[in-house]
């Protein structure tokens, strides 16, 4: 099972690892600044916890790289069933946080199954689609949807974890197109999508919780009530904008520590970074993410088999969607959806599963020449 040899070390994807680690370290520094106390009292331990999770993630990453990713394909079904069970367990024992059931406690640990599940889901979907002969017809499409997508989507929406739910659908569509659809199916898919959009929108709207509705309203008109529903959005824009070109300087940001910006070390961590490092720093950070994404897409191109290709694409797409939606939300380009920024937002489960995902990407790239094993 373990295959560590010279070739593995020679082909190891140091670029992806370096960029990932850079972003994660920037994340810890930013968490440190965002959660610093105003009085001389003790500093909250968020940055330390995140550091521990990062080390844990790094170890897991090397572990993942050490064996051929093809094993993931073989255990995909097992992972998937376990993942679904975890999501269900959230209902039974999950503790309530932020008006939604997302966490599961095991002893002193509490983790978010949905964060782990999204990765399992990508593996399962890639595995399933790699077995279907492209281009996909309508039947294959529906079969895939009801076998893999439908159940977790409902479970996630019910949590409710709207963000992950949307990503599940987005990843499904991305991988379908990546695998290749029959032209008529693709056209039909797009037409059905366009027609059903208003209906979906309607069902979607009624299915939303009040705080989700008000976030949408706030996105459309943030000035309606600046201290109420538009508050997140306005404060986020103020935080980013006040950084100006060179930023206020590290540990000099005020919006987070003064508690004007909510979720400062989780969903809105980019705003805190942009406040302290300005346009200049933000540009560099965005370029780091861009390198990561483009490198991931290059891995897709170089992967040795269909499963690897689909898996690399799924993971890269997932990172990009998270990154784009989170930053877009922080910059006021999108409604406030509770989606963390990969590698930077505080959150152990997310960091760990993202490190595993990077491990898989590196694995795929590193083993691109091992065509026959």
């Amino acid at each position: 099972m373990f295959k560590i040899d010279r070739r593995l070390i020679n082909n190891f994807d140091w670029v992806t690892l370096t960029v990932t680690m850079l972003i994660a370290l920037i994340g810890i520094l930013t968490i440190y600044s965002a959660t610093r106390p105003l009085e001389a009292e003790g500093h909250s331990s968020f940055f330390l916890k995140q550091g521990v999770w990062l080390i844990l993630g790094l170890i897991t990453l090397f572990f993942i790289v050490s064996f051929d990713y093809i094993w993931l394909s073989r255990f995909a079904m097992v992972f998937y069933v376990l993942g679904i069970l975890l999501l269900m367990a959230v209902f039974l024992t999950g503790r309530v946080g932020m008006g939604a059931q997302r966490w599961l406690s095991i002893g002193p640990l509490s983790f978010q199954p949905s964060e782990l599940f999204k990765l399992i889901y990508v593996i399962m979907l890639s595995h399933y689609l790699s077995l279907v002969k492209p281009p996909l017809d309508t039947l294959a499409l529906f079969r895939t949807f009801f076998t893999i997508v439908f159940l977790p989507f409902i479970l996630l929406i019910k949590q409710p974890d709207l963000g992950t739910g949307i990503i599940v659908i987005a990843l499904f569509i991305s991988l379908l197109f990546a695998r290749g659809l029959q032209r008529k199916v693709a056209v039909l898919f797009i037409i059905i999508g366009l027609i059903s959009l208003p209906f979906l929108g309607n069902i979607f709207w009624h299915g939303l919780k009040d705080y989700q509705k008000s976030r949408l309203v706030a996105f459309i008109e943030p000035e309606i009530d600046p201290t109420g529903i538009g508050y997140h959005l306005n404060q986020s824009k103020i935080t980013v904008g006040s950084g100006k070109f060179f930023g206020k300087g590290y540990m000099q940001g005020t919006q987070g520590p003064f508690r004007f910006l909510p979720e400062k070390h989780t969903d809105f961590i980019f705003a805190v970074f942009a406040e302290e490092w300005g346009f200049f720093g933000s540009l560099i950070l965005l370029l780091l993410y861009l390198i990561l994404i483009v490198r991931g897409l290059d891995t897709v191109r170089k992967a040795k088999d269909d499963f690897g290709r689909l898996l690399a694409l799924g993971i890269t797409a997932m990172f990009f969607i998270y990154f784009f939606v989170n930053v877009g939300m922080t910059l006021g380009l999108m409604p406030v959806v509770g989606i963390p920024l990969p590698f930077m937002s505080y959150g152990g489960t997310a960091l760990l599963s993202n490190m595993i995902a990077i491990g898989i990407l590196i694995n795929i790239r590193t083993r691109r020449f091992e065509l026959f094993h």
Binding site: L38, E39, P134, A178, R179, G180, T227, Q235, K237, I238, T239, V240, G241, S242, G243, K244, F245, T254, Q255, P257, F258, R259, F260, A274, E275, G278, F279, S282, L283, L286, Y289, L290, I293, V294, L297, D298, V300, R301, D306, R309, F320, F324, V327, G328, L331, G332, L333
Partner: protein, 626 residues
Amino acid sequence: MQREDTSERILIVSYLVIVLVFLLILRLWQLQVLQGDEYRRLSEANRMRIIETPAPRGIIFDRNGIPLVKNSPYYSVSLIPNEFDRNRLQQLSTLLNMPAAEISEIVRESGSSPFVPVRLKHGLLFEEVAYIEARRSDFPGLFVDIEVNREYIYGNVASHLIGYLGKLSPAQAKDPAFRDLSPDTFIGQWGVEKLFDPVLRGTPGKRVIEVNALGKEIRFLQEKPPIKGTDITLSIEINLQQEAEKAFGERAGALVALKPDTGEILGLISKPSFDPNLFTRGITQENWQEIINDKKNPMLNRALQSQYPPGSTFKIVTAIAGLEQKVITPETKVACRGGIQYGSWRFGCWRRQGHGVVSLHKAIVESCDVFFYEVGKRLGIDKISEYAINLGLGTKTGIELGPENHGLIPTSQWKLQTMKLPWYLGETFIAAIGQGYIAATPIQMALMMNTVANGGNIYKPILIKDSPPVLTGRSKASTESIEIVKKGLFGVVNEAGGTGWAAKASFPVGGKTGTAQVVSMKSGVSSQAERFRDHAWFLAFAPVEKPEIALAVLVEHGGHGGGAAAPIAKIAIEEYMKSLQPLDRSGETSSIIDNGHPSVHWKYPDNGNRNEPEPPGEAVRETRGE
């Protein structure tokens, strides 16, 4: 999925990703570079709180340096709803001694952000504050504010003159003159407080602090101390004011007292009055309703705004006009048989049995109507009006205290223009005794008395002690004529048969009674319903030789001037003269005032053979005058 195919599609997707990231970069550029300054300002505004420290308002003193107002500490309790534990509502209710429902209601009605403090209770006593402070740690979000309250030490006394403070009205908030003031500022809304508001107000200071999103103070940044407003010393004498107001009792009316040689206002009363303390922290609906629904209208400044026929006090004008126009001399005699017949009309004298043969002096002293009918007939309305206007009637006095009425001095031309009717001689008769169309405000009558008292200088009534007098005119009446009339006025108070005996004091007072008819009914008929009863006037000045005070008193529905108004005038004059005593003990007027040995043998200075005045004690039992 072929390799070449994949490469091509991946390339397209890569470009798409680059474009999307470029979009984010554009947005960043917009927020941080293009709009960066604005957002930087907003983030500063987030954490900086500029707290205005109100400037202590200037103190208002009376002419002897007695403070009329003070700035006293004032406690209020506020709550930040967000920080408050709602389960403790019942305990809070007990602590503040107010119903829990009321607390909830106040918080709900405030409606603003839950981070903004809501004032629950104000006007607390120090003991209550101490009690709350001791238990405050149990109630997060609760705190006590100390503010400065304007306290009007004398309450209702001189309220129309001093005025009161109030919050900026919505109209004022838009006025550029108040642009620099915060909307919660209390400014002078009435009286002297309003007139001298820019002087009294001072400049508020600023405290800049750093706060977090919960409004909690993190750091103190800078402070600019407030600059106290300038104190002002009014020309009024508070004892005069207070004692005279007391003398009015429940009756409505007005008093204006002036300093003859400067026009300074020594006292200004409009009754009923109001308590300005009710206004200083925002008047309650209940109190306000009570004031505006009061039929006697306490918010009306009668001294400046109400106009009444001057009645017999106008005979001063008629007498001067007659002397100046030489239609009469002091020796002119007219026989009064209780009235005169003119055509089918009879014009009665207030004394039905008549005064017999009267000279000008006796006519003034006893207020003989028939004598003045004759003077009026000889003068004609236009000559009477000419002198009335010349003495300052029919025009505003120019006092800067607020809206003022100009009264009315009719002329034949005026009647022709407004009523399209010619002037009748009968109207001249009643004009000569101050009835009919003639109307004047108490301050106009006081100013006329003042002008006569000082020998003909018309001053603008001023409110600040020792500010330069403003001479607005000079009567064309000769000193001789004025002196003759003043002798008569001395007689009114001091001679047998004088109608103003009730104003007699231990120093020489001159005055004139007057009765303004409310309805055209025979004056002198008593036992009428109060609202039909005549208004009582009394004009006075003292000491006659070198006047220190000139005043007009009006008592609405008071009946006779001598009975209702003169005693008030006497009290005002005595109080003022008393206040001069210690200051003037070595001065030239010291001989006049000697309360220790009240001299009752006052004679008009240049006249030794007038009727001896009765001792005041007996005068009280004498037949009522007018």
